[in-house]
C-alpha cells in the first residue's frame, strides 16, 4: 500500500519534471552539420571563436553527397543552423525553400567567379564555399615517359600505338557516364545547359545533342572501337596501376589508392580535341543556412568571422586534402602538391549545373552513355534520345 502511494507520487513528480525540462533551450547554441570526417577540423578551427563569444558549438558529422535530409528536416524544425552540401544541390534546396539567402554575408572578393556561380541561384548566393573538387587526368609515367599529354592528338596517338603494340589493353580508364565523360563530351561540342558567365539561367537551351556534337559524334564511336575507352564500362583501376593503361580519369578520392599501389603518375587537365583544355565539372562544397534555423544572426556572424577567414579555409583543406575555395588559402598551397594539380585544372573547369533540373539530366544522360558503351546505340543516336527524353521530361515537370 505504501509502495503504491509512493508510486503515484513519483509518477506525478516525473510528469512535473518533464513539464519543466521540455521548453528549456540554451540562448546561444549553434548547430552545424558537416561532411562526415570533417567534424574535428571544424571544431578545432572554430573553438577560439566559440570560447570568445560564449557560444556552444554543436558540430555533427552528418552530411554527404545529398541535401542532408534537409528538405524534410528543415521545415519540421528539426534541422541545424548551418549544414554542409555540395553546390549542385543549390537549385533544389532553393526550390524547396529550405535555405536562406547569404548574399549579404558572403564576401564575394574571397572566391573565384566560377565558385560563386556554383552557390548562386536567382542572383542570390545561398552557400559559403569551403572547397572545390574535380576530376583530372593521370598519366602513367611507366608507359608514357614523356608525361602528361599536351594535346588530344598526342593523347590519342600514344594510347592507340600502345594498344596496337599490345602493351596496353585500354587507353583511358574512366567511367562511361556524364560526370566522367563531360570533358570529352564538351570538346566535341556538347553541353548540358547553356552557360553564360558561369551561370545556368536558361534551362530551355539543352545541348546534349547540339549541332556540333551531332557532327562530331562519330568520333566517340571511333574512340570506343579503338579501345581508347573500355566498352565493358568497368573502370578497371588495376589496368592503370599494373601498367596496362596509359591514362586514367581520377578524382581526389583516387589518390590514396594510386599512391598505395606505388605507380608513378602525373596529373594534368584533359586536352580538348579542338586544342586547349576540355572542361570537366567542378564541384563546390559549401555551408548553407537553414531557413528555419533557431539562430540565423549568430550563424551569419560565425560565417563572417570564422568560415570566411583564410585560416579556416587552410585548416579544413589541410585536414581533408581538398582544394580550398578561398583564393588566398588556395594561393598558399604548395604548387607541386597533388591538391594544387587538381586545383590548377579545376580553375579552368565548368561549375556543375546547380539547377534543380540537373537531377533529371543525370538519369537520361547516364543511360545514354550506358547504351552507347554496351553497343545498343551509336553515340549520336544515344545522345539524340537523351536530349529528346530530357526535353520531354522537363516540359512535363
Amino acid at each position: 500500500m505504501k509502495l503504491r502511494r509512493l508510486g503515484v507520487g513519483l509518477l506525478g513528480a516525473s510528469l512535473a519534471l518533464f513539464g519543466s525540462i521540455a521548453p528549456a533551450h540554451a540562448a546561444s547554441t549553434l548547430t552545424i552539420w558537416v561532411n562526415g570526417g570533417d567534424a574535428d577540423a571544424y571544431k578545432a578551427a572554430s573553438s577560439d571563436w566559440a570560447a570568445k563569444n560564449n557560444v556552444t558549438l554543436n558540430i555533427v558529422a552528418k552530411c554527404g553527397l545529398g541535401d542532408c535530409g534537409m528538405s524534410k528536416l528543415g521545415p519540421a524544425g528539426a534541422g541545424p543552423d548551418l549544414f554542409f552540401a555540395t553546390h549542385d544541390n543549390t537549385g533544389s534546396l532553393v526550390k524547396s525553400g529550405v535555405v536562406a539567402s547569404l548574399s549579404s554575408t558572403i564576401n564575394k572578393t574571397l572566391y573565384p567567379a566560377a565558385v560563386l556561380a556554383g552557390v548562386t541561384s536567382n542572383y542570390q548566393q545561398y552557400g559559403i564555399p569551403i572547397s572545390v573538387s574535380n576530376i583530372a587526368l593521370a598519366t602513367n609515367l611507366a608507359l608514357v615517359p614523356s608525361g602528361a599529354p599536351k594535346t588530344w592528338k598526342e593523347l590519342e596517338s600514344t594510347a592507340t600505338s600502345l594498344i596496337t603494340s599490345g602493351k596496353a589493353t585500354v587507353g583511358i580508364v574512366t567511367h562511361l557516364d556524364g560526370y566522367f565523360m563531360q570533358p570529352f563530351f564538351e570538346s566535341l561540342g556538347g553541353y548540358v545547359f547553356e552557360n553564360k558567365n558561369g551561370s545556368y539561367t536558361n534551362t530551355k537551351n539543352i545541348g546534349l545533342y547540339s549541332k556540333t556534337l551531332a557532327k562530331n559524334a562519330s568520333l566517340m564511336d571511333q574512340w570506343l572501337s579503338e579501345k581508347l575507352f573500355d566498352k565493358s564500362n568497368t573502370y578497371d583501376g588495376s589496368a592503370f596501376t599494373n601498367g596496362k593503361a596509359p591514362y586514367q580519369v581520377v578524382g581526389p578520392w583516387s589518390i590514396d589508392g594510386l599512391d598505395k599501389a606505388g605507380v608513378k603518375y602525373e596529373l594534368s587537365g584533359i586536352p580538348s580535341v579542338n586544342g586547349g583544355t576540355a572542361r570537366a565539372f567542378s564541384g563546390v562544397s559549401a555551408l548553407y543556412l537553414n531557413r528555419f534555423a533557431k539562430n540565423k544572426i549568430l550563424a551569419k556572424q560565425y560565417l563572417t568571422e570564422v568560415v570566411q577567414t583564410t585560416a579556416f579555409s587552410k585548416a579544413i583543406s589541410t585536414s581533408n586534402s581538398s582544394y580550398p575555395a578561398n583564393i588566398e588559402a588556395a594561393a598558399a598551397i604548395d604548387k607541386k602538391s597533388v591538391i594544387a594539380k587538381f586545383g590548377a585544372y579545376g580553375a579552368l573547369c565548368l561549375p556543375m549545373p546547380n539547377v534543380a533540373e540537373m537531377n533529371t539530366v543525370w538519369t537520361y544522360w547516364n543511360n545514354s552513355f550506358a547504351d552507347w558503351a554496351s553497343g545498343k546505340a551509336k553515340f549520336g543516336a544515344a545522345m539524340q534520345a537523351a536530349s529528346a527524353n530530357l526535353k520531354n521530361a522537363l516540359a512535363q515537370g
Partner: protein, 505 residues
C-alpha cells in the same frame, strides 16, 4: 529486495521514456511526444502500481505495435494523399514568407548600417539603435520606430553607439545571448525600405518585390502589379502560368493513386515490371524450395557422416548480412575483370545485359534463399514419424513413391505457410535488386526509371526518389500502399489454397 529493485528499474525506464517525450515535444512531434508520455505512464502503472498480470504481458507488445507498425502505416496513409515532394515541403505561410524574403532587392548604393542592440530601460524590450541617414538616430524593432535626439546618443569615432538615454546598450556577450531574438526583427522605414540585421553589427536595407494580400489570398509583384494566385497543387501561379517557388503541401486527394493509370510515364513500363516481379518471386520460391528440399533429403540420409558440419556450412549465406554478400556478388559479376568471368574465361555482360542481369539476380537470390528452405525442409522431414515410412516400405512402396506420396505431402503441409510468407518477402525483395543491379539495365523509352530487373517496389523507389521533381514522398507512399495491397491479395490467395491442401490430409 527484488521487488524494490524492479520498482526502481521500472521508474528509471519510465523516466527515460519521458525524457524521449520531451525531445519529441521540443521538435514539435506532437504525436510521438504524446505517445511516449502515455507509454511511460502506462508502463509505470502496469509494472509498479497496479501489478495486473495480463497487462504485464500485453503492454510492451501493444506499445511496440503502435510505434513500429500502426504509426508508420497511418503516417504513409496520410502522406499518400498529399503532394509532399521537393518544392512542396513547407506550409503555406512558410512558403509565402519564403517567396517574399527571397525576392527582397537590396537597396543599391547604400552602405551597411551599423547598429547596437539595446534594451529599453522601462519596458525591457529589445531595440536596435542606429543612425540613418547621417546624424539622424533611431531606436526600432518590428513593432515601433522611435526617433532619438542627437544629444541623447553617444557615438564613438568608429561609428558605434555606446549610450542612449532611455536605453541600456547591451554588451557583446549579451548581444550574442539575445541573437536568437534578433533574427525576427524587421524595421520598416518609410518608402517601403526594410531594415533587417544581417549579422550582429550591421543592418541591411532592402525593398520587397512581392506583397501578400491576406484578404484576397494573392501575391502582388509590387513593381508591375502582376498578381499570383494559389493553384490546387499548392503553388502561386501567375495569369500566364508562371510558377513561383517554393510551393507548399496540400491535400491532392486520390491523385497519387490514380497516377498509376493516368500518368503515361508511370504506366508504360508497369506491365513488364509487374511480370518480372511475379515471375522472379515465384521462380525463386519454387527453385529455392526444391533445391533446399533436395539438399535436406540428401543430408538426412542415415549413411552420411558429419552431417552437422555440412548443415552448419549451409547456414553461412543466411548468417552473412545480405547487404554485404550482395555487394560482394556484384563485384564477382563484373564483366571481364570479375572473378566469375576470369575463372570461366568468358566475357558475359552480367549486369549490363537484360537477360544476364536477370540470371545474375536469380543466382544471388537463390544463394540467399536456399539455406532457409533447407532449414525448414530438414525440420519438416525430421518431424515425420519413422513408423509411417517403415509402414510404407513394408507395404512395398518404392523410394520414389514413399517420397512423392508420403514425405512430400507431409513436408508441404508443414512448410506451406512459410512458403507463402517467403513469396510475400520475395515480392518485396528490394535489397538484392537495389544493391546488385539497381533495377538496370534500363528499358529504352522508360525515361530512365524502369529496368529489366526492376521489381515493383524498386520501381516505386526510383519513381519516388529519382524523378524530375526530386523526392516525391506523396507518390512513394501511394505506390507503396498499392504494392502492399497487391502482396496482401497474393498472400491471402496463397493461404486459401493452403487450407484446401490441409483438407487432403
Amino acid at each position: 529486495m527484488r521487488q524494490k529493485f524492479m520498482f526502481v528499474v521500472t521508474y528509471a525506464f519510465g523516466l527515460v521514456l519521458l525524457g524521449m517525450a520531451g525531445k519529441f515535444v521540443e521538435n514539435k512531434s506532437w504525436f510521438l511526444g504524446f505517445f511516449f508520455v502515455i507509454s511511460s505512464g502506462l508502463i509505470i502503472y502496469v509494472y509498479a502500481i497496479s501489478k495486473k498480470i495480463p497487462g504485464k504481458y500485453l503492454v510492451p507488445g501493444l506499445l511496440l505495435l503502435v510505434l513500429f507498425h500502426i504509426y508508420p502505416a497511418f503516417y504513409s496513409g496520410v502522406v499518400a494523399f498529399t503532394n509532399d515532394s521537393n518544392g512542396h515541403q513547407l506550409s503555406k505561410t512558410q512558403a509565402i514568407d519564403a517567396i517574399i524574403t527571397d525576392s527582397k532587392i537590396p537597396v543599391q548604393g547604400l552602405a551597411p548600417i551599423k547598429y547596437s542592440t539595446a534594451q529599453a530601460t522601462d519596458t525591457k524590450e529589445i531595440y536596435l539603435i542606429f543612425q540613418f541617414p547621417e546624424n539622424v538616430f533611431w531606436a526600432g524593432n518590428s513593432d515601433s520606430l522611435v526617433p532619438l535626439n542627437v544629444a541623447d546618443v553617444n557615438l564613438t569615432n568608429t561609428g558605434e553607439i555606446t549610450k542612449a538615454t532611455g536605453f541600456r546598450v547591451l554588451t557583446s556577450a549579451e548581444t550574442v545571448e539575445a541573437s536568437s531574438d534578433l533574427q525576427n526583427i524587421v524595421i520598416e522605414l518609410k518608402d517601403g525600405i526594410w531594415l533587417t540585421p544581417s549579422d550582429l553589427n550591421y543592418l541591411e536595407a532592402s525593398k520587397q518585390s512581392f506583397r501578400y494580400s491576406t484578404q484576397r489570398d494573392e501575391l502582388i509583384e509590387i513593381s508591375t502589379g502582376t498578381t499570383y494566385h494559389p493553384n490546387d497543387n499548392g503553388q502561386m501561379v501567375g495569369s500566364s502560368g508562371e510558377l513561383l517557388y517554393p510551393g507548399w503541401k496540400v491535400n491532392v486527394g486520390w491523385r497519387n493513386f490514380t497516377s498509376v493509370v493516368r500518368d503515361e510515364e508511370i504506366r508504360r513500363p508497369l506491365a513488364a515490371v509487374l511480370a518480372w516481379t511475379l515471375f522472379n518471386a515465384i521462380l525463386i520460391v519454387v527453385i529455392g524450395f526444391l533445391f533446399g528440399l533436395i539438399l535436406a533429403l540428401t543430408f538426412n540420409s542415415p549413411h552420411l557422416r558429419s552431417k552437422r558440419i555440412y548443415r552448419m556450412i549451409f547456414i553461412v549465406p543466411l548468417a552473412i548480412p545480405s547487404v554485404l554478400s550482395v555487394l560482394v556478388w556484384s563485384g564477382l559479376f563484373a564483366t571481364n575483370i570479375g572473378v566469375i568471368d576470369r575463372l570461366l574465361h568468358i566475357h558475359t555482360p552480367w549486369l549490363t545485359n537484360s537477360f544476364w542481369a536477370r540470371i545474375a539476380v536469380l543466382i544471388v537470390e537463390l544463394w540467399i534463399t536456399f539455406p532457409y528452405m533447407f532449414l525448414i525442409s530438414t525440420g519438416a522431414i525430421q518431424a515425420i514419424p519413422n513408423e509411417i515410412i517403415e509402414a510404407a516400405e513394408i507395404d512395398g512402396a518404392t523410394a520414389l513413391k514413399s517420397f512423392s506420396q508420403i514425405k512430400l505431402p507431409l513436408v508441404l503441409r508443414t512448410v506451406a505457410p512459410l512458403l507463402v510468407a517467403s513469396l510475400a518477402m520475395a515480392l518485396n525483395n528490394f535489397g538484392v535488386i537495389y544493391l546488385l543491379t539497381g533495377g538496370g539495365p534500363i528499358f529504352p523509352n522508360s525515361n530512365g526509371n524502369a529496368g529489366a530487373t526492376d521489381i515493383l517496389i524498386s520501381y516505386t523507389y526510383k519513381l519516388a526518389f529519382n524523378s524530375q521533381e526530386g523526392n516525391n514522398y506523396g507518390l512513394a507512399s501511394a505506390l507503396s500502399i498499392l504494392n502492399f495491397a497487391l502482396i496482401a491479395l497474393i498472400s491471402i490467395y496463397g493461404l486459401r489454397r493452403m487450407k484446401t491442401m490441409e483438407g487432403v490430409n
